[in-house]
């Protein structure tokens, strides 16, 4: 029910986001990408897993171990300049 990012329906997301999606049991094709052209970031995957896309979080087809609790994604107090680049 989510718009395919491109005419071909292919999902554009970096390897780290794709792996995270598997880890969280999220179907990456169902995630709304916030990047240019609908590119999906790790943050998009987390947002989806944390509630945005409850309707499809369960149908990921993953038969991996149950999704582990996401590790703390907050900055944990430590300042990192990279964060300034935006998610």
């Amino acid at each position: 029910d989510s718009e395919p990012a491109t005419s071909s329906g292919r999902t554009f997301a970096p390897p780290s986001a794709r792996r995270l999606a598997r880890e969280l049991g999220v179907d990456i094709a169902a995630v709304d990408g916030s990047g240019p052209g609908g590119r999906i970031s790790e943050a998009d995957v987390r947002a989806h897993a944390e509630g945005g896309g409850g309707d499809d979080a369960g149908d990921s087809g993953s038969d991996e171990a149950p999704a582990p609790t996401p590790t703390d994604v907050g900055s944990g107090g430590r300042k990192s300049a990279v964060k300034k680049r935006g998610e």
Binding site: T6, S7, F12, P14, P15, G35, G37, I40, E64, A65
Partner: protein, 475 residues
């Protein structure tokens, strides 16, 4: 010493120590799994011993000799003499250092190494037969297995491999003299890499190919550049002809007989015949059936995107698991197999697996061609940069070829690239990253590229696709 029939246990049994198997074993050990790697022949598999590495070594050596001998226009006068035995010795040294390294890395990561030939007894047991002096066998009980037994060259009827006249690529990489005349059956990438190598070493090379061009999977303009250059090097091509048989020639050499589909026959006088018509999976003696695994009609083991066979706890990686039969695909699959076994969320989910051909010039490709992009439903935007407009290419003296980049017109996402030209094998890496990252043409064009480099041509091709190239006229 005879090794008795002891039974040991391991969490992960890896069969075959090629780039699929040894990488899988190291990663499995890194994941904390008790891992055993069985190899019957030589660490590093085909790739390190008689594939990627030896071929690239001889390509370097023959390339250097040829280039130095043809650089008068640069003011360099040299008449290099090649001692083929010595060159092969140097190549062997490279192989030894690398295969020794593989063994050391396995040990350093805690992988148990066993020399011998493995076969399945049942779903959780393998038997390893030790050859040579220490004959005997042992049983190994495993929780998970990774089959990485690789491939071997296909023989065609009437052309049994024999070092004195009918070579496989393995013999071609181990010759101590350069034949005056070399006949090559097959114009695929292995045949073409060796055709280039031997032509540069001074052999008269004749390539016989059933299809009507070399390098079947590539686009016409890519093939043309490589074929033209090979012809300049003196390689003679005969397309639409299949090798039918060989016979002894009157001059001490051999005659290679060919036949077209229409039955037209030809004969070529040669001193060696290299058959390079493809590779087939190695599963004989493995008794896969005992583990409940079947092979497909071409003999390959089928796997899913987690590299699992039909039997969930047994994985297969590399050439034995089918296309793409490339070392880096094997290694990637090996890593995925090890991580999946360790419970990690790994999968073969790459957007694209690059490939290179080390001809002169090189070919590097990744992702979709324009045609493939259309077939997948994209409206492709395509940009090109010819190397003869590249400052760096000119300063290297190698200006043949081009970079072509293919993107989705709507979003700008990079979908693929076809590069033919100097260092194409290296240049493709940036595009592979672009594809995996979901980079757009604009991202590639806006990334500052060092001047003068060949990599600038990737940027220029991206600019060209956007109608903004500086060093080519935009189309």
């Amino acid at each position: 010493m005879v090794v008795g029939d002891v039974t040991t246990g391991t969490e992960v049994l890896v069969i075959g120590a090629g780039p699929g198997g040894y990488v899988a074993a190291i990663r499995a050990a890194q994941e904390g799994l008790d891992t055993t790697l069985v190899e019957k022949d030589a660490y590093g598999g085909v790739c390190l011993n008689r594939g990627c590495i030896p071929s690239k070594a001889l390509i370097t050596g023959s390339g250097l000799a040829h280039e130095a001998g043809n650089a008068e226009s640069m003011g360099i006068h040299a008449d290099p003499a090649v001692d083929m035995g010595k060159m092969v010795e140097w190549k062997d040294g490279v192989v030894d250092r690398l295969t020794g390294g593989v063994e050391k890395l396995c040990k350093a990561n805690g992988v148990n190494l066993i020399e011998g030939e493995a076969s399945f007894v049942d779903e959780h047991t393998a038997r390893v037969a030790h050859g040579g002096e220490g004959q005997g066998s042992e049983s190994i009980e495993f929780e998970h297995a990774i089959v990485a037994t690789g491939s071997r060259p296909i023989q065609i009827p009437g052309f049994e491999f024999a070092a004195d006249h009918v070579w496989s690529s393995a013999e071609a990489l181990d010759a101590d003299t350069v034949p005056d005349r070399l006949g090559i059956v097959g114009g695929g990438y292995i045949g073409m890499e060796l055709a280039t190598t031997y032509a540069k070493l001074g052999a008269d090379v004749t390539v016989v190919e059933m299809l009507d061009d070399i390098l079947d999977p590539y686009e016409d303009d890519v093939k043309r550049i490589v074929r033209k250059r090979a012809e300049e090097l003196g390689v003679e091509f005969h397309f639409g002809e299949g090798a039918s048989e060989w016979s002894e020639g009157a001059d001490g050499g051999y005659l290679l007989h060919t036949e077209t589909e229409e039955g037209e026959e030809s004969t070529y006088g040669v001193d060696k015949i290299l058959v390079a018509v493809g590779r087939q999976p190695v599963t004989d003696g493995l008794d896969l059936g005992n583990a409940g695994i079947e092979t497909d009609d071409r003999g390959f083991v089928e796997t899913d995107d987690r590299t699992r066979t039909a039997v969930d706890h047994i994985h297969a990686v590399g050439d034995v698991a089918g296309d793409p039969m490339l070392a880096h695909a094997a290694s990637t699959e090996g890593i995925v197999a090890a991580e999946v076994i360790a419970g990690e969320p790994a999968a073969m989910d790459q957007q694209a697996i690059p490939a290179a051909v080390f001809t002169d010039p090189e070919i590097g490709t990744v992702g979709l061609t324009e045609e493939a992009a259309e077939a997948e439903g994209f409206e492709p935007a395509v940009g090109e940069m010819p190397f003869n407009a590249s400052g760096r290419a000119m300063t290297t003296g190698h200006t043949e070829g081009f970079v072509r980049i293919v993107a989705d017109d709507e979003t700008g996402f990079v979908l693929g690239a076809q590069i033919v030209g100097p260092e194409a094998s290296e240049l493709i890496a940036e595009v592979a990253l672009a594809i995996e990252m979901g980079a757009t043409l604009e991202d590639v064009a806006a990334t500052v590229h060092t001047h003068p480099t060949l990599a600038e041509a990737v940027m220029e091709a991206a600019e060209n696709a956007r109608g903004q190239a500086i060093h080519t006229l935009n189309r």
